[in-house]
């Protein structure tokens, strides 16, 4: 459905993309993951015909983004990162405008408008001015303008950024529903979001693709180690020594002193060994107290670091 071959993009002296290639099959939901400034938005903008590539070839459903731009645009619904909307327009007027521009026929327009507003939860604000809507509603209007002509491919640039948790879960649910019958290419810098919505992940860093795999494979590849945060009441030196002796613990780091004799330690542990049980028995045997123990998720930055060091 989407084929990107050796794509580069140069802005002045800045190389935003340095030879990006990937393929997305029909019906796939693919997550595009990368830190800010890694080239996600640039890639999406080239894909949606907003920017031309410096070199390389991008085709959507067999149509070239340069030569056959109109055909590409007809097939793609694009949700830009900043959700640009006309603040002075009413929701319904705006969606009607988009439907007209996208060539939704007069007879089905009314039904389409109704359906889209219903599915995006906009029915209640149809006659409100967009500029007065909350961020969550604006995001929904942004999604509605994508869906109004029922495009087979959705390109979504950070669709949940800046929303509160409840809104995020609503938008995710909506996207999850959409992914059943469409090809979705979704960019994000939040790993859990991508893993929830997509069955394949492409990771981009500094304009290059550094990993491309299914969610499970990536996780297995990356998360061989994790970190534990524990708070223990007990003599510092002693605790530290005993923790280091536990098999599977690679390093012990003192994080902070909470009170007399109470310290927070950060442990690097292997994933395949049950360290928690061992820790609690050590604490129990020494008559210390275990006040807190939790596993720290790997942040995106660490995953990138991991990937980059793996590469080299």
């Amino acid at each position: 459905m989407i084929e990107v071959e050796n794509l580069t993009k140069v802005f002045g002296s800045i190389w935003a993309l340095r030879g990006v290639s990937f393929k997305i099959e029909k019906g796939e939901s693919v997550g595009f993951l990368g830190p800010n400034g890694s080239g996600k938005t640039t890639t999406l903008r080239i894909l949606t015909c907003f920017l031309p590539p410096t070199s390389g070839r991008v085709t959507v459903d067999g149509h070239d983004v340069i030569q056959d731009s109109m055909e590409v645009r007809r097939r793609i619904g694009y949700f830009p990162e900043k959700v640009p909307l006309y603040p002075w327009m009413k929701v319904l007027t705006f969606l009607n405008f988009v439907a007209e521009v996208k060539g939704v026929g007069r007879t089905e327009r009314k039904r389409k408008l109704f359906e889209t507003m219903e599915s995006c939860g906009l029915a209640g604000v149809a006659h409100r001015t967009i500029g007065n809507l909350s961020k969550g509603y604006r995001q929904r209007v942004g999604l509605a303008q994508v869906l109004i002509n029922d495009p087979p491919i959705l390109v979504l640039d950070e669709p949940t950024v800046g929303l509160d948790p409840e809104q995020i879960s609503e938008i995710r649910k909506l996207i999850k529903n959409l992914s059943k019958e469409r090809t979705i290419f979704l960019s994000s810098h939040i790993l859990p979001e991508v893993s929830m919505l997509c069955n394949r992940i492409i990771i981009i860093h500094q304009g290059k693709i550094i990993a491309e795999d299914t969610q499970e494979n990536l996780a297995a590849r990356l998360q061989t180690a994790s970190r534990l945060l524990i708070k223990i009441e007990g003599p510092r030196e002693e605790v530290r020594k005993r923790l280091e002796m536990i098999p599977g613990v690679s390093k012990v780091e003192e994080k902070e002193r909470v009170a007399e004799k109470i310290f927070v330690y950060l442990l690097g542990v292997r994933k395949d060994v049950d360290v928690a049980r061992e820790i609690s028995s050590v604490v129990f045997n020494n008559r210390w107290s275990l006040l807190e123990m939790r596993q720290l998720e790997m942040s995106l930055e660490e995953i990138f670091l991991n990937l980059i060091t793996q590469e080299n």
């Binding site: 993009k9 802005f11 903008r45 949606t48 015909c49 907003f50 920017l51 031309p52 410096t54 109109m70 645009r73 007809r74 793609i76 694009y78 830009p80 900043k82 640009p84 909307l85 006309y86 603040p87 002075w88 327009m89 007027t93 405008f97 988009v98 007209e100 521009v101 996208k102 060539g103 303008q145």
Partner: protein, 249 residues
């Protein structure tokens, strides 16, 4: 050509913001005042009779209106593209299945409609005069055609400049500057050589309207305005297309 949705959107935008109403109010107030003084003037000068309405009222009235155009048309066109870029909505427009020329046509026709509306409103002046005086409709029509072509030229120029910036104020001021330049090209009569003057005279928007206002439609003048308008619309289209090859971030 699928320009209608954009056309409709632009009209809605004009009418939903206060700017269209402010512009119309200013225009009607000033033009009403000019009309009133021009008629008073005519009355005094026409004591002995013999001066036609075209020479005595319309010529002055239309010339006055040009100044109001200079004031209001940059305000009318400044937002057309600058606002889209500022809001980021240009990213929507340029990724929807609609051609650049359709976007431009929609926007151009929308501002043109507003100009027409303003001109139609001023018809109340000759109509009121017609109740006490005999008004020659044909010379009046020639004058209105001149105004319309002049206004359209201003709009074409303004749209082009609006497509170059994301700042509406910059767009308005720059348009005003360019129009004034085109207008007063021939002011340096004393210094310019005759051959240069010849060329400048042909380019000056100011001088091109004179025939119309006297009630004479000269094809050369009409063609001049048409070329002026097409030239700037062409430039605008190139500016829009260049967003693609320049790869603006």
């Amino acid at each position: 050509m699928n320009f209608f949705p954009v056309f409709k959107k632009e009209l809605q935008s004009y009418l939903s913001s206060s700017i269209a109403y402010v512009i119309m109010t200013i225009f009607l107030t000033l033009s009403g005042f000019f009309f009133y003084t021009d008629v008073l003037n005519f009355n005094i000068r026409n004591m002995g009779g013999g001066i036609t309405l075209t020479e005595g009222v319309w010529l002055y009235f239309f010339q006055d209106i040009r100044f109001i155009f200079l004031l209001i048309i940059p305000l009318l066109t400044m937002r057309l593209f600058a606002e889209e870029v500022k809001l980021g909505t240009i990213e929507l427009l340029l990724t929807y299945p609609i051609k650049n020329i359709e976007i431009l046509t929609g926007k151009f026709l929308a501002s043109l409609s507003l100009l027409l509306l303003i001109l139609i409103l001023t018809l109340s002046y000759p109509l009121s005069l017609a109740t006490i005086w005999e008004v020659d409709p044909w010379s009046l029509l020639a004058g209105y055609l001149g105004l319309f072509l002049l206004g359209t030229s201003f709009i074409a120029c303004g749209i082009f400049i609006s497509s170059l910036t994301e700042n509406q104020i910059v767009a308005a001021v720059a348009t005003l500057g360019v129009l004034i330049l085109f207008w007063f090209l021939t002011w340096n009569e004393a210094i310019a050589e005759p051959s240069l003057m010849e060329i400048l005279l042909r380019l000056s928007l100011f001088d091109r309207t004179y025939n119309f206002f006297r009630g004479v439609i000269d094809t050369k003048d009409v063609i001049f305005f048409m070329l002026f308008i097409l030239f700037f619309l062409f430039l605008t289209l190139q500016s829009l297309n260049s967003r693609r090859w320049r790869g603006v971030r």
